[in-house]
Chain length 474, copies 3
């Protein structure tokens, strides 16, 4: 078969240092972790995939439309989201042939050179679909046809891929109003894939969330609590956390604009909540309420044992034109300057020394790694550091995370890798990148005689497998 | 001839990794870009040099007096600016023999070890003047004599050097009051060196600029507009932008204390401008006016197609003693904490999605690379990232720029290199450093199997040549 | 003797790059500095050790109890400070067998993998105590017995170790109320070890220090000045600075929450001081007073020639529960966002250009290295950069310090290494790490042809020995 494309290969030494000493060590370390099961304690895959186990539609639907890493880059280079078939805010789409959208992407695949998206996608192309030519304008149709055809087979249905990917456990993320019906369906189905949920209450915790008022109503309906009273509102959270936990959840997750926390008296909190439910509150009061709710969630974690995650510091929906046209999650979120030392103090003053409380911190502001997060995690018993997140989830970002937190937090105040993705097919690729980068990092420490290789080998397994299970109680 | 100095050499592998795998790749990549013409889309050379083509005076006048990178370091180690013959604020100078000033510099050349100045200067010494001993106290006179003698020859006149340096196009930077007579003279001369201007209106945009009031008067005179009315003032800008464009300009440049922008209504803007021209305004109003003017300039860019550059975040003239004695641009400028996500929002809300608008962002605050600039450029169609700037224009700074923007902005939302210099002779050295560092960076990606070498080779040419031409419409 | 542990070795190439070219250069550079005497211009060893020369008690008392780097990490992983025998705020301790505390530590020594503590401790174990097995649960008693036994011998008394460590000079740090009796005793003893003090007046400069009121009283008593008047208070400082200088001090040190300075008129300062001594002041006034005192201290430095050090940006005692239980210095200090360009301006406006004034700046916020500190030190004659400090005093932190300050400050606006420690035995280890990292850094510059090796060799000696002596006037 004559194929016009250039060869696509995945070198077995990819992401390892080229220095022969370091590379040899990295290879030996990686050999011990390459085959370990995937533990995915935080992410955004859709439980409906595993409940329904329906085949994915085509290359564009599977790999392009859900991946904001991909279409944000294309958009930055002048491709309208409509040309890719990204849904509008009203759920409708521009009339775009998915093959044509794929071509638009393929012609511009060079834009991703050096980015993590190219690492992940090439891994998927090569390992999942067996493609052996590089993606470009000339191979666009070959790709589209190959992928779309493969997706029709049973081996490419969600559960089959889950098993093929050697996923031991995966957590999805649901809002407090979610009925968890897909998780129930999975449990009822007899399939033994382990798909957990996590409690993410932002829509009923952030008074500035566009769905807050309606979500609060339904929060009352679903829990039978008077959620317009402070005590009832808190009980409603306890109620839903209990339900999520009963459905397998081991963690909660909180996406806040900042890591600011508060520790108001009950009377102050009640009064603040009154203003919040009245709808007449200032931006400062909204922020204070969110901060107070972090402390309340920590208190509940102490009771129910759910591990708390905090993902702060994102300016959501920065682009109002696109927000109006296409809604949320279309790549227009941007990192903000973040602060933790003063922001988390109210929460830590209450719960920082509790051995049974666990708070995993993330950041989009890397200047906090060495200045705040490492030193904090290296002191407070409750604090752990989540891995390099979102914009920083690339080999360079992972390396900076390790390099800037190691001296103060060590390895054992970190929690291993999170793929944090809705791009299901990229999960093995993402974990593979993380494992390779950690092995490369450890190899350097060994080559420079800061660790013995047996210690590095133990660490490699800890980072890839043991720490996430432990940190997330999986 | 017996020469007392140590050997000065420029190793052909300088700035390449010492790892043999990476070095070999870097050499191959560099071989493809080493001979490319220089595209210099932003800088501060003096167009009078190319208009008049007069010889440079001597080593001190050419290499020491105009280079604040050099004399700031000497000053930091106790050398008074007068000892180097740096002009006073009134234009006069201390009575210093230029040879003696050169000796002061030569005796302290070790202070520059490891700095970009030593890279650039040694390149100039070796390549432009053929010197083969290192500069130090013992070789000071040899240097002074060799350089000063060479400058008398026709081969060292500005136009001859321009051609020898293989400069395809260079942009200078002029204020809105500039008559561009030198650019006109160059055009009229029949010489085919391409020397463009760029529109830098700071003196009539920043109400706190010490020349603002007078500059505004002359801005009215030169344009024939009533620049004390908001509409007339804006028309005056359009007028001068048009003139600059007619004279070849393809870009504007804006040096602001911050990246804060505003998007006032016409009525609010008119009222604010009224306070500005009255001279009775607060610091906050001055800042707001500057922010509004960035948005106005963006609007004009959309009309006339001039590419907009923003160089924010510098505390100018930090040292008041030196400012009184020696004026501006004497090395006492310092970087400030910078913010872009919130600051640029008003401008981006209006023009962020315009395909025909182009805004190139620079920073002196590297913590914004991964936190703000990379993610922003990787989303907004109008945004591009200028290269590592000023204090960061060193191999380490260039490397950090790439490493911290690659994963979110890729390579194709960057614009190649700017030398941004008034040190004409250093231009080939600076471009050579940039090309070498980019090749070294790419070589690492290839050696770690993240790019194929043919992709890296294309990228090397893109970064050195194609992207600046494209980004700046050259 | 059958020993169950794994081999502990200190590779002679530790911390050197594994690239053979770079490693060979690093080894040659290091050979020239490995044996140089230790110059320790800033630290927290106890002068009583050298005055009394009593033996240290046991492994736990020597290596665990005084080292907050060690017990903060253990605490972060759930070990109560009481289990380690860390003193309570009232001076008493939980009844803990030191051997048992040592076991708790030994069982968790893997937590320190990759951290500077493991580098330092393994160096001490291997070089000072001749241990050849790794520390872990199985070797805990072997370690405890070996170390504790060794400490009984004369060779392990403080003065013998001082000599064995080849310390040319060491500075301790004392408060203004200190009688310096131990320094006097050392001077009177005829022992020729050079142990200097440094003037650290925080307790009488920071109105929010918990001991301020009482310390101020005693400050009056000890100096015979009316310290409730502004002029008397300043005279008291001059008095104590003079006494410290007479006792050998060459420097002062200032630990402030920020680098903010002020330059009030005498009348304003007098009025502010009145509010401070009245005890009725706001947080802003306390901060303003601290800022004013930095400028006053600079003025005094100009008179008496003491070198000024500023260690800003730390949130002390972040954990109120632990502060109540165990007091200060128990590992609960955290870095804060820091700013220098605007903060230091008032002080620099007055003294920035003084050739006889010297101010050494430190930071806990690494984002200031390239943004503020490097550019400032590369301009102001009075400014020098202290080395990577506290949380950043690790190989990676040292490397970032060099990499991010080199291009703007060069090497010669830095002051070599500070061990800044109260862990006496770790001093040779810490200096060795610093020397190795600097040699590795220089080796890379040589291998990439940015320095000649003879220049790097000179620099290696400058950084390890000449610069600290010069900067601190030792």
């Amino acid at each position: 078969m004559s194929n016009p494309g250039k060869t696509l290969s995945l070198d077995e030494n990819r992401l390892f240092p080229s220095d022969p000493t370091q590379r040899a060590i990295a290879r030996r370390l990686y050999a011990q972790v390459a085959g370990l099961p995937i533990v995915s304690p935080h992410g955004h895959t859709d439980p409906a995939w595993f409940a329904g186990n329906a085949p994915f539609a085509n290359a564009t639907e599977l790999l392009l439309v859900p991946d904001h890493y991909v279409f944000r880059m294309l958009y930055s280079q002048g491709v309208p989201l409509d040309a890719l078939g990204i849904p509008r805010a009203d759920g409708r789409r521009a009339p775009v042939d998915p093959r044509q959208a794929w071509r638009v992407f393929a012609e511009r695949f060079h834009l991703f050179r050096g980015t993590p998206s190219s690492l992940w996608l090439n891994h998927v192309f090569h390992e999942v679909f067996g493609l052996r030519v590089r993606l470009d304008a000339g191979t666009a149709d070959h790709y589209y046809d190959t992928i779309t055809a493969a997706l029709q087979g049973d081996a490419f249905r969600p559960r089959a891929l889950f098993e093929r990917f050697n996923i031991e456990v995966i957590a999805t993320t649901e809002g407090p109003l979610d009925t968890l019906e897909h998780h129930q369906a999975i449990a009822d189905s007899g399939w033994n894939g382990r798909v957990l949920t996590a409690y993410r209450p932002d829509a009923v915790v952030d008074p500035e969330h566009e769905e807050f008022a309606g979500a609060l109503e339904r929060f009352g309906d679903i829990t039978g609590e008077d959620v317009h009273s402070w005590e009832g509102y808190l009980r409603a959270h306890r109620n839903r956390r209990g339900f999520f936990k009963a459905m397998g959840a081991t963690s909660t997750d909180h996406g806040h604009e900042s890591a600011m926390t508060a520790d108001l008296s009950a009377a102050q909190a009640r009064e603040l909540f009154g203003r919040i439910v009245s709808g007449r509150f200032s931006a400062g009061e909204a922020a204070l309420f969110r901060g107070q709710m972090l402390t309340e969630m920590a208190a509940m974690s102490l009771d129910d044992g759910l591990v708390m995650q905090l993902h702060p510091g994102c300016h959501r929906n920065h682009n109002p034109t696109l927000f109006r046209r296409h809604g949320r999650n279309i790549g227009a979120d941007l990192p903000l300057v973040s602060e933790y030392v003063r922001g988390l103090k109210p929460l830590l003053d209450r719960f920082g020394n509790e051995a049974d409380f666990r708070l995993i911190l993330f950041t989009l502001d890397e200047s906090t790694y060495s200045r705040e997060l490492g030193p904090m995690a290296g002191h407070y018993p409750c604090l752990y550091l989540g891995p390099a997140w979102w914009f920083h989830d690339a080999p360079e970002g992972m390396w900076r995370f390790r390099e800037q937190t190691l001296s103060t937090a060590g390895f054992y105040n970190t929690v291993g890798f999170n793929d944090d993705t809705r791009a299901f097919l990229s999960i093995p690729a993402r974990h593979d990148v993380a494992r390779r980068v950690d092995c490369a990092f450890l190899a350097r420490l060994v080559a420079e005689h800061r660790l013995d290789e047996d210690e590095a080998a133990e660490l490699a397994v800890d980072l890839a497998y043991r720490l996430p299970k432990q940190a997330y109680k999986l």
